[in-house]
Amino acid sequence: MSVPNTKNRTIGDAPRARPQTPSAKLPQFILDWAGLAPFFLFALAFLFIPSFSIFVRSFQANDGSFTLNNIVALFTQRDIINAYKTSLQISAITAVGGALFGFLLAQAVILGGLPRNLRTFLLTFSGVASNFAGVPLAFAFVATMGNAGLVTGWIEAIFDLDLRQMGFSIYRMTGLSIVYMYFQFPLMVLIMAPALDGLRREWREACENLGGSTLHYWRYVALPILLPSLLGTTILLFGNAFGAYATAYAFSGSFINLVTILIGAQIQGDVLYNPGLGNALALGMIVIMSITMLGYTIMQRRAARWVR
């Protein structure tokens, strides 16, 4: 494998990390890719084939014939345009909110000098909480803060109020955003903790030795290091909220008009049933996520420019 290569020597004098010979090139190439095969197989089965199927079926009418109506509907039907707006809005709010507060909490726990036990507890808890979504979360929230919720009951009893008569309701955008935060927030803590662990004490000391303040340290040292993971996690949270369905549906049915809920109404149920439109809606989501990912990649490049 590592036969010294004399031919390429002339190109440059930098040390060659990966010595290559024409004879060793091919087997190594195959070996490299063979190791990746399971990943590609996985991606093919669970990402590319389903995406392709969504793409194809977006152009199908109920009877299987070709149609552009579904795609046209994405840009013309008010309900659909509104749904995309609401979905984007709630995803952006909960992603940024979750990232901000999650980051602050993770920072407090990792760098705040809290006892080690608390840190273990918090990380374990975050692991559980970030997966506590869907119907159980919605139900828990309804049982706590709903019209007949435990906390609602306490407030009404203590302050002698009738919240219903006062028009209080959790079944709003704000309510759903708060519900989403319950899984966004712990996920951020979970992912940011290792990144914060990576900040070396020496860097801070070095900064201080050079006369830098805490602000300087964060502005010029910590944040640039953390920025790529911060951005990545925020995008993850965005996708997490954008694709959420069960939580929202169990929480308030179709009251809050989200894309995922519209898709649900099109592909199942007794009433609307137009799977083609459902697929077109999903295609729209894929396009939006792709654009977001593209934006992320560009930002990531800029954020990590100093590393290269």
Partner: protein
């Protein structure tokens, strides 16, 4: 070893010819078994759609040994007991596919299994009447007229026998008694300020037929029972309901009712009455049939045109549509479609009648036609968000 092999080779070669002859014979037999009434021991004809004498049907179903059903929740219209009675009565097994499937899913299950006789292919379906149109157009259902065909009201069946209604319900108010002192008696009552934050539907208007009908029923009440304009009036009613803050967008189910999150729920009577029994007084429920806008929702039964067990399927409907089967629906609080006929002949047990809301409440029940259902559904679903939530 080698000797054995040679011998077995010889035998199989000799048998091969025999087997061929047998297979050919069986093929001929199978070919004549399908069409036309064959002599004794043969299976009855399936193509005419006429009722098959019960004894022949039972014998034929027993050779199949199994029935595949879909979308029959055990707590819906007493399907649990109907299924277990059918099983024990005829000694057949029932393979129950997704009990929570919707009408569209049922048709999809037939469509997807056209070429398969496997366990995923349903034999019988129970769908919303509006879906019968698609089912017939796509050739998914086979025609068959049960023995009690004539006593099914004419507007509740297809004249060729492709579908027929088995039961219906009307939309009622399901009121949590201890929390609501005065139960609403009519649709307009629901708009009163005392019900603020208390009125919920049992489904999602864009997803559940029951909720579309809830909108329509409120409209019927406003138009004085005239279907023309009822959909628009219904949307207007729910807009007022939402503006008043009375409507809460929680999808009510037994759990949410028990939890007292949803204090007034609009639901089919059979579901509401089953909830009353299920909750057994905790909390106590009041079931009110509204004074006006009594909307009937019939369901339709049918047989898959690709049924793997066509005789067991027909036996199922003979049983379900018999007095015995129809009374089982009533036990689950669904009004059997042959209710009037059976009441006239006095075959409904008195204790069953006593558990139902008064019979007069049902007298003015409105049965929409399929066309009316389709038209009103389109108006309601297309304008729901716009009118009720005021979204541009």
């Amino acid at each position: 070893m080698s000797q054995q092999e040679r011998r077995s080779g010889k035998i199989s070669r000799r048998d091969f010819l025999k087997m061929g002859a047998m297979a050919g014979g069986a093929g001929v037999l199978a070919a004549c078994a399908q069409p036309g009434a064959a002599p004794g021991g043969e299976l009855p004809d399936l193509t005419s759609g006429n009722s098959i004498p019960l004894d022949d049907l039972i014998a034929a179903a027993k050779t199949e040994g199994q029935l595949t059903t879909i979308a029959l929740p055990h707590d819906w219209a007493n399907y649990g007991e109907i299924i277990s009675t059918y099983k024990s009565k005829y000694g057949l097994t029932i393979n129950e596919l997704n009990p929570d499937a919707g009408s569209a899913d049922e048709l999809e299950a037939i469509r997807a299994n056209k070429d398969s006789k496997g366990p995923q292919a349903p034999d019988v379906i129970d769908i919303g009447v509006a879906h019968t149109e698609t089912a017939m157009k796509d050739g998914l259902v086979a025609k068959y007229k049960v023995a009690t065909w004539d006593s099914i009201p004419d507007d509740a069946k297809n004249s060729d026998g492709y579908w027929w209604s088995e039961y219906y319900g009307v939309l009622v108010f399901e009121v949590v008694k201890p929390d609501i002192a005065n139960s609403p008696q009519d649709w307009e009552d629901l708009l009163k300020p005392e019900y603020k934050g208390k009125v919920a539907m049992a489904g999602d208007v864009l997803k559940s037929n029951q909720s579309v009908q809830t909108v329509l029923a409120a409209g019927l009440s406003r138009t004085g029972g005239d279907i023309n304009g009822a959909a628009e009036a219904g949307l207007q009613f729910w807009k007022e309901m939402n503006d008043a803050g009375n409507f809460i967008p929680v999808i009510a189910d037994q759990g949410k009712i028990a939890q007292r999150e949803t204090l007034i729920v609009m639901e089919w009577d059979y579901l509401a009455l089953a909830n009353r029994d299920g909750l057994a007084g905790n909390p106590e429920l009041d079931i009110v049939v509204p004074k006006t806008g009594v909307l009937a929702g019939p369901y339709a039964g049918g047989i898959s045109a690709y049924a793997p067990h066509p005789y067991a399927a027909r036996l199922w409907w003979e049983f379900v549509m018999s007095d015995e089967g129809q009374n089982l629906y009533l036990k689950g609080y669904a009004h059997p479609i042959r209710f009037n006929d059976m009441a006239k002949r006095g075959v409904i047990p008195a204790d069953m009648l006593a558990k139902l809301p008064p019979a007069e409440a049902y007298e003015q029940a409105f049965f929409p036609t399929i066309q009316q259902l389709t038209e009103t559904k389109t108006i309601i679903t297309e304008n729901w968000r716009k009118v009720v939530y005021g979204e541009g």
